[in-house]
């Protein structure tokens, strides 16, 4: 991890549900326990690049609470690290399961 990396905290309910709304159309559907985490992240990012380029940065901004100016100063690798860490800190796989259990479905 590079210096000046903000410490990420789990999101509140309101922001977590918003994160789910951003990520849900891009998350891989056919997921098994053997799916490596990096493959999961790669498929998500690939889908965002193809369908909604803004979603990736929206997700990073939401998870890090940085503003656009601060994010623009970071290189792409740093942003990717933040994205991956954000998914981990917010237990996105569990968030998806919970939201789907409530009946919230996107994508």
């Amino acid at each position: 991890m590079t210096n000046n990396t903000p410490k990420l905290h789990p999101l509140s309910l309101r922001k977590a549900v918003e994160l789910y709304r951003i990520l849900a159309p891009h998350l891989p559907q056919d997921l098994s326990e053997e799916t490596p985490a990096l493959s999961y992240v790669q498929q998500t990012i690939d889908s965002m690049k193809e369908k909604d380029k803004g979603a990736y940065l929206q997700a990073v901004l939401l998870m890090t609470n940085l503003d656009v100016t601060e994010l623009a100063e970071k290189d792409s690798m740093a942003i990717l690290e933040l994205f991956i860490e954000g998914l981990s800190v917010n237990e996105v796989a569990l968030l998806v399961t919970w939201c789907k259990g409530l009946g919230l479905n996107y994508g």
Binding site: L13, R14, L102, G103
Partner: protein, 215 residues
């Protein structure tokens, strides 16, 4: 039951009838908000659910989502009904009457119980959930059986069939939850000895082959 959500520790008791009723309405609101994708309403309903159950309000708003989800799950489990009441087995959703309004359902319950037992609103609000629901169901059953008895003594309960020159009793319709549950059709096993042998010709296929299409 102690609920630990992050740094928050709250003692939550099993809800009495009125609070349980509110929690059920909020669960319905959570479900409809989720199904329609209304995120703001979903989040507000979840916080309202936690507030109604625990008596505290804003403290849940900044907690990590996982703690909030766990708290919702624990409260839901604490207040779930252990008995499956036929009263809640609504097979057909009935249209709301013209005099319906938001929040009316609770007062329907209070009216039925107060009329039957002479209780006041505060007493009914603090009934144990299982007791309240069971008594409500019994009052509704009694009222329906009384109506059926009155109906049976009325001329309208008998229809005359001119063909057979006999009167036939027409029972009063019951609400769906008082009717026997649907049973799937019984499978009938046909002995292979009586099944047709050889190639089975479908008359529909034959007709389709011989009747030309009209152009």
């Amino acid at each position: 039951m102690e609920i630990h959500a992050g740094r928050l520790s709250v003692d939550v008791q099993k809800a009495k009838l009125h609070v349980w009723f509110q929690l059920e309405e909020l669960r319905g609101s959570i479900q409809t908000a989720a199904e329609s994708g209304e995120l703001d309403r979903l989040v507000e309903s979840i916080f309202a659910y936690l507030s109604a159950a625990s008596g505290i309000d804003k403290e849940f708003h900044d907690l990590p989502w996982r703690e909030v989800a766990l708290a919702v799950g624990q409260i839901s489990k604490l207040n779930e009904l252990k008995i499956k009441y036929p009263l809640f087995d609504a097979r057909d959703k009935e249209d709301a009457p013209p005099w319906d309004y938001v929040g009316r359902s609770w007062f329907v319950w209070v009216n039925i119980l107060a009329r039957a037992y002479g209780w006041n609103v505060e007493y009914i609000e603090n009934l144990e959930v299982e007791t309240g629901i069971a008594l409500l169901q019994e009052v509704l059953v009694d009222e329906q059986l009384n109506r059926e008895f009155q109906w049976g003594m009325s001329e309208n309960a008998f229809s005359y069939d001119p063909a057979s020159r006999a009167s036939k009793f027409v029972p009063l319709d019951r609400p769906n939850w008082m009717k026997p549950p649907f049973k799937p059709a019984k499978k009938i096993y046909i002995n292979t000895n009586i099944l047709p042998m050889g190639k089975v010709i479908s008359l529909d296929e034959q007709y389709a082959k011989t009747t030309p299409l009209v152009s």
